[in-house]
Amino acid sequence: MKKLFLLLLPGMLLLAGQAEAQLQKGTTHFGATIGASGDGARSKSSSGPVEYSDKSNSHGIAPSLQTGWMIRDNRMFGFRLTSGIVLRNTKYEGTGPLNHFVNNNYSLSLSPFIRHYKSINSKWALFLQSGVEGSYVWSKTKTNDAVEKENGYTVGLYVLPGITYWISPRFAIESDLRLLSLAANYTDFNDSKTFTFNAGITSGINSYFGVRAAWYLQKSN
């Protein structure tokens, strides 16, 4: 019995040491998440003198990837790449000619960031991510045969808290607490310049608490 305890003890110590190692200098981090949503609707008059039909659909997808390196214990430097595509298409046919309206929006954002970790225990850690973000946004609008293209940019600063939970020593689930985030952005798009400051929820597919799959890979010694 005593032997068993003695055998287990170093094992327990090893496990405890290993968990903290994920936040030690030299660990590489990868993260990925994706959101998508869309809808389609169709209306058609079934009888009567005035016939019309109305078809519309929209599709959106927003993948995000990030990578980082532990530059010091509990401190990470990394890059986050976010993109978004929203496609809208509407066709309306009434008594007059066919009306066709297309509106496609695209964005690509790159953000270098610094993350500070505070580990709670071997499974859980809190982090505070602060970064600058630059985005390139472009759109294509088509009203019947008239095509209009726009492009612009957004620059901003943000602070975002979050939680990491390690399912295994190498794999974790992370949640951004968007509810407690702060962001300031300057946008120059579509002939208008906008400055926004957001505390809390920002609109988008992943609202409130976004969830991300994360990998923490230690340097093999």
């Binding site: 305890f5 998440t33 959101g35 949503s37 809808d39 008059s45 079934s46 608490f209």
Partner: protein, 226 residues
């Protein structure tokens, strides 16, 4: 040392098994319900009333002491007496404006903190049919639109329980997430003024790895006799 360690080990195993061991194989029925009534009397309009309910019933079993599988039936209804003043006429509706009925299956994993209290969470699948009646105004014409919708959901839920007695548990759901959602909708719109009827159909999908605000719902669970 050896005896003490053995004794402690035996004590731990015994206490754990007495507290939760008897859960395995136990069957239960669980439910939560909400009802609502409203009444409005206005000096200028006719009175309007409203009523609603939402019910969820589950039939489950502890597969092990920390895992349950549960079949669910969910239903909701909204109805009442409503008045609308349209440009050419006034419309009075009396009856059901929305109704839903669905079924699902949920897996829950438990962490028992003591023999009185614990938490649980897990994924679930559900298929829901809903009917709705509404007044729509897409242009200058007012329509009475009826719709039928079938939706498929993948949900994540979490909750906590408190043991009231040997047979009764009080449960509360604490968080909710709906990462996958698919629906198909079809129906008809009938204009109030002379004009053609309109056939409608549509679909919706969502993949959203996120959590919404914790929604709190209280329910009761009754354990059957073996």
């Amino acid at each position: 040392m050896k005896n003490t360690a053995t004794y402690i080990l035996v004590l731990i195993i015994v206490s754990v098994s007495t507290a939760f061991g008897q859960l395995e194989g136990k069957r239960f029925i669980s439910g939560n319900a909400g009802v609502g009534f409203s009444n409005q009397n206005s000096e200028y309009n006719r009175s309007s009333t409203g009523y609603s309910y939402n019910v969820s019933l589950g039939l489950g079993k502890f597969k092990t002491s920390t895992k349950t599988g549960e079949w669910l039936i969910v239903s909701s209804l909204i109805g009442g007496k409503q008045n609308y003043d349209l440009p050419n006429e006034s419309v009075n509706w009396n009856g059901i404006t929305s109704f839903s009925l669905g079924t699902g299956y949920a897996w829950n994993f438990y962490k028992h903190f003591s023999d009185k209290f614990g938490i649980f969470g897990g994924p679930g699948l559900s298929l829901v049919y809903s009917f709705g009646k509404s007044l729509t105004n897409p242009g200058s014409i007012y329509y009475e639109t009826k719709s039928n919708q079938v939706s498929f959901n993948l949900q994540l839920g979490a909750g906590a329980y408190y043991v009231l007695s040997e047979r009764w548990w009080l449960t509360g759901s604490l968080a909710f997430s709906n990462p996958v959602y698919l629906s198909y909708k079809f129906g008809k719109s009938k204009p109030f003024d002379p004009g053609p009827n309109v056939d409608n159909s549509g679909f919706e999908y969502k993949l959203a790895p996120d959590f919404t605000f914790p929604s709190v719902g209280l329910g009761l669970r009754y354990f059957f006799k073996d």
